[in-house]
Subunit: 345 residues, 2 copies
């Protein structure tokens, strides 16, 4: 057993002393290798290696004002959609040499605002995913440092959003081709920008296709929002329901099953997100696939650009969406053969 006292980590001074040079030389050898004699550089690097020296990021941050750390805020980590965003962001951050701090805002604007404030000084920028913050707060945040939005647009801020215009059109066209004449949109949180866009898109597409859209809700965008939505939908007698997201759709389908309604025979169900699980729930869910990992990755890349260049730019990146048709959608029962109104018998 060696006398392993937890020895102090070597500092740049230690390296300089050991190498017989000034600290500034060590610093240069590390960050601007070309500005130091190749010979001394190699010597310095050898000592660095020998001592296992690693620069202290706090000291660097103090000097430069940048931490090489960015924050990603999501409404709910356990929602598989955001898990995808996180994964993509994590990968892109690692690739850009940035450290990723994660925050769960618990679907709350207040929590989100607090996190932005708390983390503001420790990070170089934010990726705000499905933020619940009003535009004003967003712009204020953007004044303090780079901000990139995911699935939310705000004038002057860069963002990565799914192409909901195309997506909602795909959904409505699908429903129309099945001969549905109207549908219900089971909405999510009122502050949800993507929910708003989805509804706008659905209305426009319905208008174009001659369907009649109705909006219910708001419901919690989780499985627990399902029962309320299902009951309302059942009571309405609609033939199709488009849900704010897959979690809600799955929760809704469970309740539907409990209440004896068959999907899609009695009601067709469509979701948004195409989360893991949408393919193995019962019945497998027809849903609009977004590229969540791509979204996370693109957002971080855009942020990295701003962090590095210090140049704010406000491009909007539109990510394609694609309707994945599974078994939760079908033709509505024709009124004449509807079991519930079968005469006689």
């Amino acid at each position: 057993m060696s006398t392993e006292r937890p020895h102090r980590r070597p500092t740049i001074t230690d390296v300089a002393a050991r190498a017989g040079v000034a600290t500034s030389t060590v610093s240069r050898a590390l960050s601007r290798p070309e500005r130091v004699n190749v010979h001394t550089r190699e010597h310095v690097l050898a000592v660095v290696e020998e001592l296992g020296y690693v620069p202290n990021p706090a000291a660097r941050a103090l000097e430069s004002g940048r931490t090489r750390t960015i924050a990603l805020l999501v409404p709910d980590i356990t929602n598989p959609y955001f898990a995808g965003v996180i994964k993509g962001a994590e990968r892109a951050a690692a690739a850009a040499g940035l450290t990723l701090v994660l925050g769960d805002t618990q679907e709350s604007a207040a929590t989100e605002e607090q996190l932005v404030r708390r983390l503001g000084r420790s990070v170089d920028g934010f990726v705000l995913s499905a933020t619940r913050l009003p535009d004003d707060d967003l712009r204020r945040a953007a004044e303090a440092g780079p901000v990139v939005l995911v699935n939310r647009a705000a004038r002057g801020l860069p963002c990565v959003v799914a192409d909901y215009d195309s997506g909602t059109r795909q959904i409505v066209d699908h429903l129309a081709s099945l001969a549905h004449e109207s549908f219900v949109f089971a909405g999510g949180p009122a502050e949800s920008w993507s929910g708003h866009r989805r509804w706008l898109g659905l209305q426009a597409a319905a208008d174009a296709a001659g369907l009649e859209p109705h909006r219910f809700g708001p419901y919690s965008p989780t499985m627990s929002g399902g029962p309320a939505a299902a009951d309302a939908v059942l009571a309405s007698g609609t033939t199709a329901v488009v849900c704010h997201n897959d979690m809600l759709a799955i929760g809704l389908m469970r309740r539907l099953a409990q209440r004896g309604a068959m999907v899609p025979r009695d009601i067709s169900v469509v979701g948004f997100d195409n989360i893991v699980g949408a393919d193995f729930c019962t019945p497998p869910l027809t849903t609009l696939a977004e590229r969540s990992e791509d979204a996370g990755a693109r957002a971080v890349e855009a942020l990295a650009l701003q962090v590095n260049s210090r140049a704010p730019h406000a491009a909007t990146q539109l990510l394609p969406t694609q309707l994945v048709i599974r078994e939760s959608t079908g033709a509505p029962r024709s009124p004449a053969s509807g079991a519930s109104e079968a005469p006689g018998r």
Copy 2:
């Protein structure tokens, strides 16, 4: 439009000057309020408020050597089990005033090791969840700073683990009570400690209950591992399979369905984790529930303790497990009535 130049953030010096006191007084007023005259304190705090002063964490970190940041490393963020761990960890970290950095190791020991090195200087400690690192590496990491393990035990390191002894007994007893006489364990990655423990527990419990256990694998602990496992299981003719985790179990059941095998009629399936999705897959999965959020939270709490007290301690926290019986398990077909061997016909 105001001439909003992005003015320099106020420092402690600005506050001191404005308040007409020394910087140390400001510092004290903020961190040790009781050690400063109530009157001056209030004045200082007012100025702090007025200027919108927020301490620079980098400067604090440089001085104290602590960053009030901890890292959580998980093998795969998109696995709902780890999403739970992350959520719990995030909540506990916020409660303890710690910032949480997240790392996805992509099921790779090399990536994990790299992350530990890269983040080592920027965080006060690590929570390593289902780490793939060998004991030696773990101990080395623990020398550099506090480490808490989730679902992995290593001598001398604090950890939070699920009670697999009880859990595997529950599984085997359930299978035995259904009159299964043997079962297959579809194993996960060879480096997985929890996989190892699960297998050990299953063997012991099987021994006690008089069942015959077989181990197949390793398989990828994801849905994509399912097909290989399903095919092997089918070929073996076993009546029951216990899968390394729910993702694998669900992937396996899909393949089983594709190949025309009925669950549980032809084969009973058991998973580990009780992820979201285990309740709405087809058929709903019998699985051993772990308290993933609790695990994440406990681990962070244990880490916070070490970070604050600087006192290493190595307690093992055992989290209860509970078998959730759903519809993927049932009695094996009695050999006499087996459809596949029905004579004649």
